[in-house]
């Protein structure tokens, strides 16, 4: 036994100091991220303060920093995310239901599953290139406009879609799809099997069981995942920039610039998906790239504040939904 008691106690003290240092380093690293978040928010709000007026929300963009506004971006993002949700939510939930409830465990299922997890890791800019080739240019389809006459209104559908809302929405929908599928699968998996067995035992068909029992029970989880995916899509810039969506635009999709426009020309709603658009993150990117310092630092900061407030509202609603339903459902 070579180790003496003095030696041992010195060692113990060192071990405790080591442990203290390690804990301090871990604590520091974690809180540093909170500090960084606080710095980000403070810097941006300080820069944005002089530009944060009601007019910033209700004006269109301008070449002058004092009269620049974000209305085109806000309305553009609204339509864009709306169509994205309309495309990707049904497909995503459908795919999740198939994989969780119908698919047998064979190579096809494993292949689809592998595909989804790989797609989740593909950089968003690659989706942008896919969207540009497949939706904006449609693989070089000759230009053409189809006019649908509906009696009360004409809808002009450009083919290829060009830089329109629908091309952007299809691209973002593909981008969101893996996230929505994975979140919905998890939500479906958390519904206990006893619920399915009970419904089937009472004579319900498979689809009746799923649509009336399993899906409603899984809805809160699915909704949370959908909102998180859409809030990510709302902040995406790269795919839209690659699509060639407009940076500077002084009208909203479908020329519906205000509620009175909507009241007077409700038929313009049909033209919304096929019109040009810009989005909030694109406007911010454009302002950052401007020459003047006012635009670069203040106007873009004001745009960031608006975008962040909307994102926080969306994420907050996701958290509220989760908490509300967690309290109600007890398995």
């Amino acid at each position: 036994m070579s180790q003496t008691p003095e030696n041992f106690s010195a060692n113990l003290a060192w071990r405790h100091r080591q442990g203290w240092l390690f804990a301090a380093a871990c604590r520091l690293a974690t809180w540093a991220s909170v500090v960084f978040l606080a710095i980000i928010l403070l810097v941006i709000i300080a820069q944005a303060w002089p530009r944060l007026t009601l007019g910033f929300l209700t004006r269109f963009d301008s070449y002058k920093p004092e009269s620049a506004g974000m209305l085109a971006g806000i309305l553009g993002s609204f339509w864009l995310i709306g169509f994205t949700a309309a495309i990707c939510v049904p497909i995503g939930i459908g795919a999740a239901i198939y994989l969780e409830e119908y698919a047998r465990s064979n190579w096809v299922t494993r292949f689809i599953q592998l595909n989804i997890s790989n797609l989740a890791g593909v950089p968003s800019i690659v989706f942008g290139i896919l969207g540009f080739t497949a939706f904006v240019r449609m693989f070089g389809l000759p230009r053409n406009t189809i006019v649908l006459t509906l009696g009360f209104a004409d809808v002009r559908i450009p083919l290829p879609f060009g830089r329109s809302v629908i091309a952007g929405a299809l691209t973002l929908a593909l981008l969101c799809l893996p996230v929505v599928i994975i979140a919905s699968q998890e939500a479906l998996r958390s519904v206990p099997a006893s619920l399915r067995h009970a419904a089937l035992a009472l004579g319900a068909t498979k689809w009746q069981t799923i649509s009336r029992q399993v899906l409603p029970a899984a809805m809160p989880g699915i909704l949370t995942g959908v909102i998180l995916a859409l809030s990510r899509a709302l902040g995406e810039t790269a795919p839209l920039a690659v699509l060639g969506a407009a940076f500077f635009i002084t009208f909203a999709p479908g020329r519906i610039n205000s509620a009175t426009d909507l009241g007077q020309h409700p038929d313009r709603l049909l033209q919304v998906p096929f019109d040009q658009f810009t989005a909030m993150p694109l406007q911010i990117y454009n302002w950052v790239n401007e020459q003047s310092r006012d635009f670069q630092q203040q106007v873009s900061a004001a745009g960031i504040v608006v975008l962040l407030v909307i994102l926080v509202l969306m994420n907050g609603s996701a958290i509220l939904i989760r908490q509300h339903f967690q309290r109600k459902i007890r398995w």
Binding site: G19, T30, Q47, T237, A238, Y285
Partner: protein
């Protein structure tokens, strides 16, 4: 009611089908057809993801590799050797075009290594803190703020890198104190913000695997006289190593594919340099920049975009595969 006896309807039905003796035979029913239709529709939904992958691969290969009459792909005009080894990337200089992807790879490497050097250790340290040390009150503050940090759009990170980190921190310290020359756009600022961006991802993925280590391992460590540091660093982290490495790879692959933050903060000049204080261009910011201009469809600079995107796609895909493979191969299953 006597449940065992047959109802009157059943004998009449079997009597009709009796010649074919098929009471157990499948018969057409609208309900059954409806169920089948639903199944097919849902299968189509699931196949959308497969079609998307196939479309991505086709689109990237079509302009860069696929060769047929009337269509010369990018690698028909530029040899693969030149693409991989030449040291200049100047697709927009008419008359003096060079297509060597090394400067773009180098730029991507610079930002990714910087991001990894910051994001990975910080993320792992936060994961250890959150799973082993933090009190419930601290967690209730830290978890939402990490989620918020992960949810901030990447343009915002670019803005912070360009207008805060470079003029307020990097220039005063490195240029003012140490006398180094710092470009207004530099790889360091982009790398730092991307590091802060991937940090919450590493933290949350690693925390999940750390928490999955059963507490019996911790208790065994304490029973043998280990300190909390010994238990965390020498027992818990090694037991969860496969998950941690998988999360590192996912985070790095995200840093490689990150576009807006580096396009804003790092500039747009492809240079073969390993100095993080210089202006550089990454693969992703090249793609965004060239799509801003009106590049004629079918031209060689247009096609170079797809070649770069193909390289980017292959790199991130490989990293994701390796990460999944590590998870499957080295996962420690605890009962």
């Amino acid at each position: 009611m006597n449940a065992g006896s047959p109802t009157p309807a059943v004998p009449t039905l079997t009597a009709v089908d009796a010649p074919r003796s098929s009471s157990l035979k499948r018969r057409f029913s609208w309900n059954g057809a409806y169920e089948k239709c639903i199944r097919i529709v849902l299968l189509c939904c699931a196949l959308v993801s497969v079609i998307t992958t196939a479309a991505i691969v086709f689109v990237l290969l079509y302009e860069s590799v696929l060769w047929f009459p009337g269509h010369t792909p990018f690698f028909g005009k530029v040899s693969l050797i030149e693409f991989l080894t030449a040291s200049q990337w100047t697709p927009q200089f008419a008359g003096n075009q060079h297509f060597g992807i090394m400067p773009l790879i180098c730029g991507t490497l610079l930002t990714t290594v910087t991001a990894g050097a910051i994001g990975l250790p910080m993320g792992l340290a936060s994961a250890i803190y959150l799973s082993e040390y933090a009190s419930p009150q601290a967690r209730s503050v830290l978890k939402p703020s990490l989620e918020l940090l992960a949810g901030i759009p990447t343009v915002v990170y670019g803005y912070i890198g360009l207008f805060f980190l470079t003029p307020m921190l990097i220039k005063p310290v490195l240029s003012g104190v140490f006398g180094l020359s710092v470009d207004g756009f530099n790889a360091l600022s982009g790398g730092i913000v991307v590091g802060m961006m991937i940090m919450p991802m590493v933290a949350s993925l690693s925390e999940d695997v750390l928490r999955a280590v059963p507490s019996s391992l911790r208790e065994a460590g304490y029973a043998l006289g280990a300190t909390k540091y010994d238990v965390s660093a020498k027992i818990i982290v090694p037991s969860a190593l496969s998950g941690i490495i998988a999360s590192f790879l996912l985070a790095l692959s995200r840093a490689i594919g990150e576009t807006m933050a580096v396009a804003i903060a790092c500039g747009a000049r492809p240079q073969l340099t390993l100095n993080p204080l210089r202006q550089i261009q990454t693969m992703t910011s090249f793609i965004v920049n060239i799509m801003q201009g009106d590049t004629p469809v079918g031209s060689i600079e247009y096609q170079s975009l797809y070649a770069v995107a193909l390289v980017l796609f292959l790199i991130t895909l490989t990293m994701n595969y390796v990460s999944q493979w590590i998870l499957r191969r080295y996962r420690e299953a605890y009962q």
